[in-house]
Amino acid sequence: MSVAQPPTAQSVAETVAISAEHVSMTFQAQGRQTVALADVNLDVVPGEFISLLGPSGCGKSTLLRLIGDLLQPTSGTLRVKGKTPERARRDREYGIVFQAPVLYDWRNVTRNVQLPLEIFKVPAAERERRTKDLLALMGLRDFAQSYPWQLSGGMQQRVAIARALSFQPSILLMDEPFGALDEMTRERLNMELLNLWHQTGTTIIFVTHSIPEAVFLSTRVVVMTPRPGKIERIIPIDLPRPRDASTRETPGYFEYITQVRACLREEHVL
């Protein structure tokens, strides 16, 4: 990514990247109603790194999908840069990274990264240029012609991130992107993600069930609890930046982890 989002745009719509007001989501399955989300309120400032943290069933993925317009709320209002989520999706504001890499096996790494650019009718020369930059940025240069099934899980997820960044979306939605990876790979990708975020200024919503991961990455951690899924508390993480491996050894880091754990314990989640 060569160009960071300019921080100069100060229209009203852009002072809040994402806002959720009284958002609820009820699923109906076999005549039974399940309240996945109850009365969620959240404002996200542009350029923030927000983690949605909680156990399975707390609605964190549901909230992410609502923001990304892959689901529509039962009630309440969502606004993304002052627009409806659908409008924002059509304006290609979202880069999404799922827990699985979701790469197309019949496309090599380069062509996977170019998929959104093809759909957006970006000229071939421009596609090539951006892909080259991104693959270099993600340490995938030597794998440009490889197929997804020839790569390790961590590599595949890097390709997925490169693909999400290829069209320079203003919001990155990440649904447990490193959940299926081993601890070492996960920590390394955490670092890389932080660096990317610093370089691009993208607003990131990051779903995870790892407390250390959430604390390490985020500007704010949104702690969620299940039955019904709701926001329990929003904890700002004031650890100095840039954060690196040594951040994980500071007392402040452990204090935040303790604080989040205490919050989850109060709700009998831990």
Binding site: G68, D69, L70, R89, R90, R92, Y94, G95, I96, F98, A100, V102, Y104, D105, W106, L115, P116, E118, I119, F120, A136, L137, M138, G139, L140, R141, D142, F143, S146, Y147, W149, Q150, L151, S152, G154, M155, R158, R188, E192, N195, L196
Partner: protein, 273 residues
């Protein structure tokens, strides 16, 4: 810091395929089946044959002595009947499959009958098709088309609808339309099953054409001559026609296999090769 530099250079480069080592790679794959073939043919030639099942060398001689008639038979049965029926049946099956995959209600309505259709004795339709299309090749091709239509339809529909939900969500997040989803996701995902259908139908098409010739029609196809020689007890020729029909079928299937490999090289079933 260059992101992922460490990981990018630490991992070994990926080499596609394996080094060519002839005996190790091709030995068991080619030699083992060849040995079995020679063993079976020898046993057949020298021990196990009867009046109705002549030894292989006699069959080979019959093929050699009747190559002109046999070649005409291949032209009529494969080129005029099986192949044309195959193209019509598979083509329509694929197109209707695309429509069924697009409209859910149509798919739900049609698929159960398409599956059940495999139990219909298509041969019962042959007289009807002769009545409609006449005695020449079109009626035989029609039998083949009817036989190949449903397997192709089912494979196409299942193939086009077997993509996973996240792959579709990804395209939704790009605000991709129906046509984009079809070309970028559904069609590539469907290819392994489409080729599965094409391969099954290649075998069916020859069976269909041979059987269709048991009914009134051209008198120079493989099926007609097979039946004719069987009723007059010329067993050498019966087997000659049978073997040639098999060879044509194997050739047809192999061509499809080669095309399939180049199109679906990415599929799990081919990756290790």
């Amino acid at each position: 810091m260059a992101l992922g530099r460490a990981a990018g250079t630490a991992a070994p480069p990926i080499v596609r395929g394996r080094p060519l080592a002839f005996p190790a790679k091709y030995g068991p794959r080619v030699a083992a089946p060849a040995l079995v073939l020679v063993a079976v043919l020898s046993l057949w030639q020298f021990a196990l044959h009867s009046y109705q099942v002549p030894p292989p060398l006699d069959i080979a001689a019959a093929i050699r002595d009747n190559r002109d008639t046999i070649w005409t038979g291949v032209r009529v049965t494969f080129w005029e009947e099986a192949l044309r029926g195959y193209i019509a049946g598979c083509g329509l099956g694929f197109l209707f499959g695309v429509v069924c995959a697009r409209f859910d209600w149509l798919r739900r309505g049609v698929i159960p009958y398409a599956v059940a259709s495999s139990s219909i004795p298509i041969i019962g339709l042959a007289p009807v098709l002769i009545f409609w299309f006449g005695l020449e090749w079109p009626s035989k091709a029609a039998v083949v088309a009817v036989m190949t239509f449903f397997p192709m339809l089912i494979n196409t529909v299942v193939g086009l609808t077997s993509f996973d939900a996240l792959s579709r969500d990804l395209l939704t997040s790009y605000a991709a339309g129906g046509w984009t989803t079809f070309t970028k996701l559904q069609l590539p995902t469907a290819m392994p099953l489409v080729f599965n259908g094409l391969k099954i139908c290649s075998v069916l098409s020859l069976i269909g054409a041979v059987i269709a010739e048991y009914f009134p029609g051209p008198i120079n196809g493989l099926g007609f001559q097979l039946q004719n020689d069987a009723s007059s007890g010329v067993w050498n020729l019966v087997w000659a026609y049978t073997v040639v029909t098999c060879l044509v079928g194997i050739l047809f299937y192999s061509v499809l296999l080669i095309v399939e490999r180049s199109v679906t090289f990415w599929h799990v079933s081919y990756r290790s090769n």
